[in-house]
Amino acid sequence: MTDPVLEIRGLRVDYGLGDQAVRAVRDVDLTLHRGEVLGLAGESGSGKSTLAYGLTRLLPPPGVVSGGQVIYHPVDGPPVDVLSLTPAQLRRFRWAETSIVFQGAMNSLNPVHKVATQLLDVIRAHEPKSTPAARLARARELLRLVGIAADRLDSHPHQLSGGMRQRVMIAMALALEPQVVIMDEPTTALDVVMQRQILGQLAELRERLGFAVLFITHDLSLLVEFSDRIAIMYGGRIIEQAPAGQLYRDALHPYTEGLLHSFPALHGPRRELTGIPGSPPDLRAMPSGCAFHPRCPKAFDPCDETLPPLGPPGDGRPDRTVACWLHPVATPR
């Protein structure tokens, strides 16, 4: 495995302050390696988007990052903690090192400005010494990269289709050749055909440019195909992490298993769709012990009392981690 580019250590994100705070992300440890695609999946409300907003310091109030570190390793230079950057440093860091493609393909572009304006202003903000001609050439190249004709630079967002808008956003995300691109459900608002196209294109661009992707979605089937590693989130915690193939073939956590059984496979033998009974936990009143135990078909003694730690399971397989009493960690951390 290559060296890490983004390390999330013990990240905690709350909504609100004090006793009333809703703890949306709880002690999350996650490492993104250079050039890999890390999928992050979970139900609505599991904290996956909050995690993305938290680590980029884009949380709208009342969201607060209440603890942890986000260590970014630049290509050259010492690692920095994103959470302790000054506002000016943060502005320089944003987009140049870590860019984001957001959920809402439709509303991510400013409706009153041309595509060109919005592509050029980010380049100008980060590379103030570049000439206007060079910036324009770069913008044209970016659009070509995502398969959009360069004359679309003069279009306004409302003149583009949803798929084109999202491709413009991807082009914009790559404008400064960042090391990390965070994608927060980038294809949710698009139809299936367009999803395929855009994901295919993204995979190709990643091959060429070598950026790492943190891909957030509730669609586990998409991740199985598209990502190198997958992390599953439940109730604000990572509960399982494994290489995509392993996770698909042999899920250890009952919740992951439930997720995998809630969509049909295109290939292989038919199997029954089961889904997961019950509903996601209330973040204000989390169950004791493992947050999943009230819905877990395999819950037994320790589950409702003690929180299972996340770590490599005792039964071998050191490249994956799980937080479940069925697969206790070999040596507790």
Partner: protein
């Protein structure tokens, strides 16, 4: 372009309808100017004098309404608005021409200043919620809810008076001749400060409030988050992304308020006896001066329509979504 043409045709039609109404309404009012002259002189006018007055005002011809209507259009197209009864024998166009600059100067400038200032404060208040500008909001809302004439009267009672810097009435020092010289201009400015300030106080909070609310709405849009994520400067995000979008409804509101500059000044000018169009209209109504009333209504109508057209054009320029390729 076609859109603009459509709008123009629509506004021409509206103008025709308004001018026609403008012709009929004063004629539906009971009484006539001779009657009002008789009352004003408490009946001490001889029958001959009354008769000659009727001839003078053209009330003896007993033309049908239709003929009067055609006549009205004919004169209008020649820029002839008739003679004013009150300022006889001055033509209405001269009376309006004399008072229009006062109104446009006072209310026009304060409307623009109020819009610019209010919008700027609104951008600040909406962008930094909870700052000192937000604390200012209840006060401005309170001031704007005071009926305008009352605010004006209070202002006169408190600030104007013998020996005060602020004159309580008029547009300039009595005895000065209106001209662009070093005596007249300072006097005109001195006379306009108090009415201008009361207009500003009562109208600005509307702009602040609407701009602030739009800023708050726009601030939660996805493209604002994207703009932050892009690492743009705070200033660029606030102005080019948030304010630029939040401005749209305010701009059309502003264009419309330009139309009310001429018509909406009645109370200001009455309270301050300001020699503008509103004060003139007030006098014209009091003395049943049809030609003057019609002339002023015409100006009001046209200015409202032009302002509407301006609003359309402004929106077309500012919001690309309204432009059709």
């Amino acid at each position: 372009m076609r859109f603009l043409l459509q709008r123009t045709v629509f506004y021409l039609f509206t103008a025709w309808a308004a001018i026609t109404l403008n012709f009929f309404i004063p004629r539906l009012v009971p009484g006539d100017p001779v009657q009002s002259l008789i009352t004003r002189n408490q009946g001490r006018i001889s029958a001959d004098a009354i008769e000659s007055l009727r001839v003078l005002f053209g009330l003896d011809r007993n033309d049908s309404l239709w003929e009067q209507y055609l006549d009205y259009w004919r004169q209008l197209l020649h820029g002839d608005l008739g003679l004013s009864f009150t300022f006889f024998p001055a033509p209405v166009s001269t009376v309006i021409g004399d008072s229009l600059p006062w109104t446009v100067g006072l209310v026009g400038i304060t409307t623009i200043v109020s819009f610019l200032l209010g919008t700027a404060l609104g951008v600040g208040a909406g962008w930094r919620r909870g700052s000192w500008i937000d604390g200012l909001l209840p006060a401005t809302t309170f001031l704007s809810s005071i009926p305008y004439f009352w605010l004006g009267l209070v202002a006169i009672a408190v600030f104007a008076g013998p020996g005060s810097f602020f004159p309580s009435s008029g547009g300039y020092e009595a005895g000065l001749v209106p001209a662009f010289d070093q005596y007249f201009i300072p006097s005109a400015i001195q006379h306009s400060i108090l009415p201008a300030a009361t207009i500003l106080v009562s109208s600005m909070s509307g702009w602040i409030l609407s701009m602030r609310n739009m800023m708050v709405t726009v601030s939660s849009e996805d493209y604002i988050t994207v703009a932050h994520a892009k690492g743009l400067s705070e200033r660029r995000v606030a102005l080019s992304y948030a304010a630029r979008n939040a401005l749209l409804p305010n701009v059309s509101g502003f264009a419309l308020s330009l139309g009310f500059i001429v018509g909406g000044t009645l109370l200001v000018e009455i309270v301050f006896s300001y020699p503008g169009l509103g004060y003139q209209l007030f006098q014209a109504v009091g003395s049943k001066d049809y030609p003057l009333m019609q002339g002023i209504f015409l100006i009001i109508t046209i200015s409202v329509l032009v302002a509407n057209l301006l609003a359309d054009v402004a929106y077309l320029l500012l919001d690309p979504r309204t432009r059709k390729s």
